[in-house]
């Protein structure tokens, strides 16, 4: 079993597609906290859906000037349709080619299923992992852990 990267580890940099013609690198966000939410797949059932839920909490993350990003192995067009259907106001990154490469670097890829874990990382403004958590795949982890981690960051 791969291990989820622990607090204190430098967050591995990556560059992934946000839309068909736009890429985003983690290093571009240096200077502000980043919440990285790995999730298994777009289009899981409605109200309990983790990304739609974070969409509701977004103002709380923004109070900490934190940038939230969802990440799964789905492709950009799938993400685009999903984000539109759920009215998501934050980016979804496509860990699509090579499939799951970033999830592997963070120790949250499920080899047998071909998807990533439901795993959360709070990365501080210097690019170091401040908190990480891997939820049982069927349990939406909510946002309490993320908010506690953001509050604990040095100002």
């Amino acid at each position: 079993m791969p291990q989820i990267l622990a607090p204190g580890t430098k967050a591995p940099d990556f560059t992934l597609a946000v839309t068909a013609d736009q890429k985003l690198s983690l290093s571009e966000l240096r200077g502000q906290p980043v919440v990285l939410a790995f999730y298994p797949a777009d289009w899981s059932p409605v109200c309990g859906d983790q990304m739609a839920f974070y969409n509701e909490i977004l103002p709380e993350f923004q109070k900490h000037k934190a940038e939230l990003m969802g990440i799964s192995v789905d492709g950009v067009w799938c993400h685009a349709a999903f984000a539109e259907a759920r009215h998501l106001h934050f980016p979804l990154l496509a860990d699509f080619e090579p499939k799951g490469a970033v999830a592997r670097k963070y120790g949250v890829y499920r080899e047998n299923d071909g998807i990533c874990e439901r795993a959360l990382f709070v990365i501080d403004k210097n690019g170091t992992i401040a908190w990480s958590y891997c939820s049982p795949i069927a349990v939406n982890p909510g946002a309490d852990g993320i908010l506690q981690a953001l509050e604990a960051l040095p100002k």
Binding site: C47, G48, F53, I57, E60, V139, P141, L147
Partner: protein, 174 residues
């Protein structure tokens, strides 16, 4: 894992015996179909446990997904100030498909509330802060969607059919 961080208190809407050994807290959204499905189940669970359990409802409107959820929550809070919280709560869930601003005002009048005061309260978002406080307290406690239930402060994970809830309540608080 997740625990209720905001203790049940005077600001809450509580049904049942204050001394009950079991407290079931629901964080719910009036427009969420899953909450609508849970509504009759909770009633059955209440009947099953009788005096052994009290039930608390807190607001958790998912406003990005449900355009009427916030107004509905505020309308119920308004009704609470006139002693009609549960009548409003039940009236909305029993007619969930009709939920609209118009429906809320009609329901208010049916319950004998001051219609103009209700319309004004909704327009001026007089109860928005109370609803937001419920929401934020829920986020702190690990609410992860609607409905989320807490049984004696422990989050209930997994399905919420009648059997699941009864079993979970028996295990935690019975």
């Amino acid at each position: 894992m997740s625990e209720l961080k905001i203790p049940v208190g005077a600001g809450d809407h509580i049904q049942g015996d204050p001394q009950a050994a079991i407290t079931l807290v629901e964080y719910g959204d009036y427009e969420c179909p899953h909450c609508g499905a849970a509504y009759p189940i909770v009633k059955r669970v209440q009947r099953h446990f009788g005096k052994r359990m009290r039930f608390v409802f807190r607001n958790f409107p998912l406003v990005q997904a449900h355009p009427n959820a916030q107004s509905a929550a505020e309308a119920a809070e308004f009704a609470a100030t006139q002693g009609k919280f549960w009548e409003m709560h039940d009236g909305i869930y029993e007619n969930q498909r009709e939920l609209s601003m118009d429906f809320l005002l009609r329901l208010g009048e049916k319950l004998g509330l001051d219609g103009r005061a209700l319309a004004k309260a909704l327009k001026n978002e007089e109860f928005a802060e109370k609803v937001r406080a419920d929401f934020l307290g829920g986020v702190r406690s690990g609410v992860n969607g609607t409905p989320t239930f807490f049984i004696n402060n422990h989050r209930h994970d997994g399905p919420f059919d009648y059997g699941d809830l009864v079993e979970s309540i028996e295990r935690v608080g019975g």
